[in-house]
Amino acid sequence: MSAAAEDTVTEAPAVEAVPKRAMTLGTGTSLVILAALLVTPVFVKNFVVFQMTMVMIYGIAVLALNILTGGSGQFSLGQSAFYALGAYTSAVLMENFNVNYALTLPIAGLVSFGAGYLFGKPALRLSGIYLALATFALAVAMPQLLKLHFLEQWTGGVQGLTVMKPDAPFGLPIGQDKWLYYFTLVIALAIYIGSVNLLRSRSGRAFMSIRDNEIAASAMGVDVAQYKTLAFGVSAAITGIAGGLSAIVVAFVAPDSYTINLAIALFLGMVVGGVGWLPGSFVGAAFIIFVPNIAESISKGLSGAVFGVLLFLVIFLVPHGARQVAIVAQQMLGNLRKN
């Protein structure tokens, strides 16, 4: 079972053009899921709508990491820093400069892109675990930087910033939660489609050739340094947009929201969803939101340990995460059709 899955994993980059199937779901499946996402909010409580919105936001952030790690093969434990940067950019613009919330998102993306691109430059000299460590430093430093004294008049220091939650525009008769859900859905969809196309483009193939073999890639004329920093920049930009969305939806930013725990959670979401498989990002996001709650309901005092056991089971039983489950399901479905 896992051998078959592994074959598919290693096979995919070896063929000439990346088959769409290896990165996305089939058209039919995608449409069914999209329809479900569109309809569900009508039938569930606002709280569930809020949770689904958070899954999409974390999903976008995991997807960004997936482009970096699954695409260009670079590790990052510092995604929480870019997420925080995006969140604070949105929050500060909204609260201190009265910018419309939707307009803050592209700015958050740009600021994060700049930060990611600049960080990618020195990170070029590092690879593997050393790069992971360097990004880890970024994640650890971020909450403290946000508390800095001279930034306090904008960031609110330790206290954080409370953000006004936007109402639905044009007098649409839906509540704030539902409006933000659809708002997030549209952005998530745009980013998802954009990312799939990016990975299937010339740049995406360059990312993946770097991942598979850096020397071979440069021999083929890929500008390794350029594409590596670009991957960092793009990943940071998308993470920043996710951060900005989270600031709008949660309506509060504080340095303590963006600790190293967040970076590790995003990394975990990527592994659980399946490295390099974009739809898995959202499954991974659901995992990091719901599984801690499940663990807590099993045992309050040992919630961390229960979470660990559940995570261990996932890694042990389905080492390729949601991607593996999807492939097995697809094969079973195919067999059923033949019979």
Binding site: K45, N46, F47, V48, F50, Q51, M54, Q144, K147, H149, G157, V158, Q159, G160, T162, K165, S246, V250, A251, F252, V253, A254, D256, S257, T259, N261, I289, P292, E296, K300, G301, S303, G304
Partner: protein, 407 residues
Amino acid sequence: MLATLRTAAISAAVGAFLCTSGAAFAQKKYDTGATDTEIKIGHIVPYSGPASAYGVIGKTEEAYFRMINENGGINGRKIKFISYDDAYSPPKAVEQVRRLVESDEALLVFNALGTPSNTAIQKYLNAKKVPQLFVATGATKWNDPKHFPWTIGWQPSYQSEGRIYAKFLLKEKPDAKVAVLYQNDDFGKDYLKGLKDGLEGKASMIIAEASYEVSEPTIDSHVVKLKASGANVLISITTPKFAAQTIKKAAEIDWKALQIVANVSASVGSVLKPAGFENAQGLLSAAYAKDASDPQWQSDPGMQKFFAFLDKYYPEGDRLNSSVVYGYGAAQTLAKILEMCGDDLTRANIMKQAANLKDFTPDTLLPGVKINTSATDFAPIEQLQMMRFSGEKWDLFGEVINGELSH
């Protein structure tokens, strides 16, 4: 004739019964989360993450409500205490509180811990008109009934405590030259503000200030610098680890200043013992709750109730942990409010009763410290008593002082 009389009597009785029960029905009022048999209390606290040490507060409160339920509940209603983990993360706090309000349909949110988490949920709860009762943080901003009529604090604010030290200095040492060491965050700044407000026109008594970041490994250099200013009073607005370092360093460099340490760092076990009892002699601080490790309270009736509760309902709880004492006092205050609400368990009435506490004294508060609230005063505990460290324990002295500005 007899038959008609009997019918008349019966109908009169039935009528009377209907009337009284009708009146009783009219008095019973409920919002979501309360019924004839149950009251749902929502609660969040970090059971995991960086502040998980405070998780014992949640466990103590859970045990307290278990005790209440075993003794028949409050006005015949059992308490359903729903407690979730927010891991000290504001986004998680928002998620969990929304789950409490919208999915579990709790009547109120009780004793959420931490300034960031409470700030994150304050707007939401006030918009939904759900009581955010007795928040577990010492920030001063919770006492703002005008803007946030659904949020109320519990413990003395850091500013109140700062003002109490100022009052003490003005009275006992008016010629003091004060040096202040404070943590550079909301906690430290709130304190410093209280101190300066309390000194009123004489803020010039403070001749030196130094702040440190929580990330600094040691604060020795700050202590040395402050000594060089020639101050004879050191006010140490520090968290436990740094408080112990300050006490030790001051002794090492032979700085004989009168030292005042913030209440959060007055723990004998986690601060004064590591700093060395010989270095801590004569240290001053202030308290509002009884110290369970202090022998003078062993025979105190309130504390005996507390110990009996621990023995029966929470035997694994560490009685030397001040968080256990804290959880007990907060839970007792909530139980009192729910009792006062009677059969009118609407959210509005809960806030009304929470703002209507008169001289209420939970078992674990110092004698003389009383909880008073009003429609314009959302700061339940505002009194503290000064104490001096001698031997291996704190000695209370002087009278209970109020930290309000107007007093």
